[in-house]
Amino acid sequence: MATPLRRKTVHNLGTVVRFEIVRTLKKRSFWIAALAVPVIVAAIGAIIFFSNKTTDTESQNLAKEQYSLGVTDSSHLVAPGLLKAVEAKPFATKAEGIEAAKSGKIDAYFYYPANISKQKVEVYGKEVGLFKDSRYQELANQLLVQSAAAQTDPSLRAILQNNVQFDATTYTDGQVDKGFLKLIAPGIFLVLFYFMIATFGNQILTSVTEEKENRVIEMILATIKPTTLLVGKLLSLIVLAFIQMLVILIPIISGYFIFKSQLSLPSLDLSSLPLDPVAIGLGAAIFIVSYLMYTGILMTLGAAMPTAKEAGGFFGAVMALTFGPLYAAPLFISAPHSLIVQILSYFPLTAPIPLLLRNAVGNLELIPALISLALLVLTTLVTIRIGVRIFRFGALEYSRKLSMKEVLRRKA
């Protein structure tokens, strides 16, 4: 049976969470930030789609265009049948061919030297615009490729045309390994963490400084405990982060299914997606604790600084620590036991990305992972505790930064 005091605290917590969520959802800036990602993805997709379509159409039109051609084939590699098919007029010497092209008697002239591995094929043509000029070189090359293909057997032709396809199978413990697919489920937490901190970090910071900047904090603290306010904000930020993720994911997923065929997107067979419960569980735990830790750090920063603007410099440093390890990403995959990877994986402020990435690629052993996780939990608890303390003392410091010395010296 909950005591009245406990009920009141829970009621106040719920009120703070609801208020924070609703007022953030009403802000235009939230929706602009949240919708920016799918809109940009959709815009890029549309540009690629229309660009490809236009290029295809243009290429087809280009191929259909007829123009007069002259050829001197000193290499004897171009099939005569092909030259006949394109109605190419043979020239005995290069000089004659060039002159014919230059004077406009023919539209283009190709000169194939005796040794094309050492000498360049020379192409001369009438200028028809930057885009269309490429048609001469394209045809000159096609004549060679087609001629080579016609002279070889199908296997060699495939090699020549770079059309060889591979089908590789690897095994883990006697079972067919799922390869890249097994990275997807645990890798989702890395993507989630990246997006949430990258797009939401600033909002976490401003949510704390806002009340100081508005001078409303004194009325709030006369009504509820600082811990209730901070925890309420923390919970609302988690809910908002998930709403933001849904806002990003729903249009992307919908877009995938709607434009799958138009954009020739690969099929995703989710039923064959490997699900490793340990990796997924570990990824989820690292993600949740890391998110809480960074939220706590940013809230502490907001509590210590008089304005969001002044907190900006420190915010940059936190972001550098968070995302800096991405520069060492190849090491996390190729040398997981190197000293730098170990340091980055155990130091709580840099650990989230190395841990999530290593967990995704499968080189994060359970015991070291649990040690890192424990360090993250400890840092989170200490950070939130310090955050509440700083918030308590810094809440009414409207115009100056609070020094750590001051916070630690004051009575709790």
């Binding site: 009245p4 005091l5 009141k8 605290t9 009621h11 106040n12 009120t15 703070v16 208020f19 007022r23 802000k27 806002e210 009340e211 508005n214 001078r215 409303v216 904090i217 004194e218 009325m219 709030i220 603290l221 006369a222 009504t223 509820i224 405990k225 209730t228 308590r392 809440a395 009414l396 409207y398 001051e406 010296r409 004051r410 009575k411 709790a412």
Partner: protein
């Protein structure tokens, strides 16, 4: 109450009786706001506590408290009604009840048409009325108002004081932190005057005037009053009105003024006003600063 190594409030103890209106006076920087913040737990005091009915006060305890801080501020980008409803919810009201109360209050203070406006679209005085509304929501048992009328025009000052008086009549205990001595004399049952973080005067207005001691001599004259340290000290000059602190016989003072050619339209011995007491304790500079 200590900040870093500086003690700003020293051994301060006072009682506010249930249902009374208590004036908490002092010049700028005397420690009034710090005392209130420490009492409410916004600042953690080095020592001491606020007891209500003998029990330590807790922010989420059973006592309904309304607080209008000196530092004005609201969620500027939220609407008036949403902000008021939020605070109403934090004070234990239901959502509908809080919203309806807010709308009724806004009508009462002539802000009915501003309910759905963002707070940053309101003037300073209008925001102050909203803040008072938040302070008096849920019929507080204890209402602490820090400079409630600062920056308000006379019409809105009257409106605001009417609202406060209504809550007094409903039984609320009111603590006024103010520099407005006229309001204190009119509204307060008892007062406390703070100087440099210490209690200077404390009691009913009559007791304080008695404790401050003696009476003052008020003279109305067109002629300048000469200094005479032996018989009196000139405490204040406001136009024709000169307030003297007498040291000697009234007859001797009168004789001295007549000799100096000062013709008095009025020569009256009276009790000092709170204003006189304030000026005496803090000096003219503080009084002028507070008026500004």
């Amino acid at each position: 109450m200590t900040f870093d190594k500086t003690t700003v409030i020293k051994d301060l103890s006072f009682t506010v009786r249930k249902g009374e209106t208590f004036g908490f006076l002092g010049s700028n920087g005397s420690g009034k706001t710090t005392t209130i913040r420490a009492l409410l737990g916004i600042y953690q005091p080095s020592d001491g506590t606020l007891l209500i009915d003998g029990k330590p006060y807790e922010v989420d305890g059973p006592v309904r408290l309304g607080y209008l801080p000196e530092e004005r501020g609201l969620y500027k980008k939220e609407t008036v009604v949403d902000t008021m409803t939020y605070f109403g919810r934090l004070k234990g009201m239901g959502r509908r009840e809080a919203k309806q109360w807010s709308l009724d209050y806004l009508q009462r203070v002539e802000l009915g048409d501003k309910a759905d406006e963002r707070l940053d679209k309101l003037s300073g005085g209008q925001q102050q009325k909203v803040q008072l509304g938040i302070a008096v929501m849920s019929n507080p048992d204890l209402l602490i108002l820090d400079e409630p009328t600062k920056g308000l025009d006379p019409v809105n000052r009257r409106l605001l004081m009417d609202i406060v008086e209504e809550h007094q009549q409903k039984g609320a205990t009111v603590i006024f932190v103010t520099h407005q001595m006229e309001e204190v004399e009119r509204l307060c049952d008892r007062i406390m005057l703070l100087k440099d973080g210490q209690r200077r005067l404390y009691g009913t207005i009559d007791e304080v005037k008695e404790e401050f001691g003696g009476k003052v001599l008020e003279i109305v004259s067109n002629s300048p009053v000469p200094a005479n340290d032996k018989l009196y000290t000139i405490k204040r000059k406001e136009g024709k009105v000169v307030t003297l602190e007498p040291h000697g016989d009234l007859l001797a003072i009168q004789r001295s003024l007549t000799t100096a050619g000062v013709a008095c339209d009025r020569f009256e011995l009276k009790r000092p006003s709170l204003d006189d007491i304030f000026v005496s304790i803090y000096g003219h500079a503080a009084k002028e600063e507070n008026r500004a």
